[in-house]
Symmetry: C2
Subunit: 335 residues, 2 copies
Amino acid sequence: MKIIIDAMGGDNAPLAPLEGAALAVRELDVQVTAVGDKEKMAVAIRQGEIPMEGIELVHASEVIGMEEEATDILKKKPDSSLAVACKLLAEGKGDALVSAGSTGALLVGGTLIVGRIKGIKRPAIGTVLPSLEKPWLLIDCGANAESRAEMLVQFAFMGAAYQEKVMGVQNPSVALANNGTEETKGTALQLEAFPMLQKSGLNFIGNIEGRDIPMAVADVVVCDGFTGNIILKLTEGVAKLFSAMIKQMFYKNTKTKLAGAVMKDDLDEFKKSFDYKEYGGAPLLGIKSPVIKAHGSSDALAIKNAVRQAKRCVENDVSKAIESYLAAQKEKEKK
Amino acid sequence: MKIIIDAMGGDNAPLAPLEGAALAVRELDVQVTAVGDKEKMAVAIRQGEIPMEGIELVHASEVIGMEEEATDILKKKPDSSLAVACKLLAEGKGDALVSAGSTGALLVGGTLIVGRIKGIKRPAIGTVLPSLEKPWLLIDCGANAESRAEMLVQFAFMGAAYQEKVMGVQNPSVALANNGTEETKGTALQLEAFPMLQKSGLNFIGNIEGRDIPMAVADVVVCDGFTGNIILKLTEGVAKLFSAMIKQMFYKNTKTKLAGAVMKDDLDEFKKSFDYKEYGGAPLLGIKSPVIKAHGSSDALAIKNAVRQAKRCVENDVSKAIESYLAAQKEKEKK
């Protein structure tokens, strides 16, 4: 299996993507194609003393910055690392793509260079989040700030397919993020999407309120990209606030410091459970081949875990699963 | 000062509202008018052995349930405790109103029986939330699931007036909840509201992302009621998840249990800081007289704290402050 990595994407590029590639080759039994500026990559490889077995380098002279227009990937910067990586994926020269670069550009490149799965209106970003007993998936996390009701239904299909195929959840439950559990809640968007989700054939369990979302009451939580982005980042923010508050608590006096020392390993593990680095990246669902968006500040570990996720997507053929879900629904609609 | 309490509102009515009323009379130097079914109130007073000094009872034969239509307060249930309480407030027979009943009915009653502040299009629910260094205010928390841009600007004015007058924050900073910090982020709503907030004369600091919201980067975070409801309840949900995770952590073995015993007081205080009971209620801003929505599951302590908040609103004349903010803006617009 060959995973394509955008070596110039993210805050720590090209060092972190290349180190992550080397970790992935060693631990995950994959080959990697790293796309980027050959000279800059060469410097990083020397600096990091990165073993290059299993890693092929492909040159791309440009980079798409985070501040640039997402659509620049098409005409203005066709030789950017991300554009070249997308083309390689489209041509079948790799099985999946990992990038820590601009989400917008990845979305445009995925949609227009790699291409959507037939029948999918808009790809969406899913993110797997931790909870007490099991992880859950949030979709869309920001690809489509404005979404229509029929898009939400497709997001639900894609999220369910991912939970089933990649995470191994049987008959995943789906809920609609809303400002109350009653059917009558929400804006025009939720009011329209609710009956459509009921008729979708998915295991739709109704509306879910903010307070139940982190408790993994549903395996898949579906929402528009604006709301999903708020949910994702707010969870991160509250986690950060809590960690700071707990730290303050343990630093109060000698007794609490001793207690803190006893709890150190557990606290570290707790923090880790909300650390995106451990979770890899967010799958961009609805694209013909697996595309994983790694966090912009990804280090080598995060890149490696994103590659692991990409590998699982390939092994379990998520794109095919999404197609089957859609086909099954079309059949139902005909009846 | 006289505070009107809807004695039949909330899960623990009429006992909790009446006990809360008695606590408020004793500790806060206010008088209370409790509105509800006289027989049911009498039973609760006997059961709870509630001292009745400073509490006047007003009979109302009906109750508006949480599942009823909010507009029932107007025609179907004019003799409900909440409708009667609103009428008393409208007639000046009290200075402020506290209810733990239906938010929707309180909103309709506040808007149509008590009346809006001149120039305010739609009242909104503000909520003060804790952070590391200072509390911050979220508005709207759910009164207006669908909001227009000019409503967001008014929410911002009302939130700033509350922070300044009741919480004592000088020149409160205001931010717009969004899916990114750049001006170009958001749905049509945020894109339209951003320049309006820039021109508002408020201390507008731009867009705020989910991860910065809990860190009190802004004194006032403004958003539509759908998003606000998600933010408020998700914060509660993540807090709940974290408490459960920390509990699990301390119950692991003898050593961690000992550490937990050392930390018990601090952990309790930590939990308390995210406990709505300590924070009182949420002000319904934009109504002529102060109206405080207490949490549906309020106990006596929560009701007392909601009364404290109502008292502060009266003392600092929040409604007047909102009017002045609006007038100042009108002046600016003329120029």
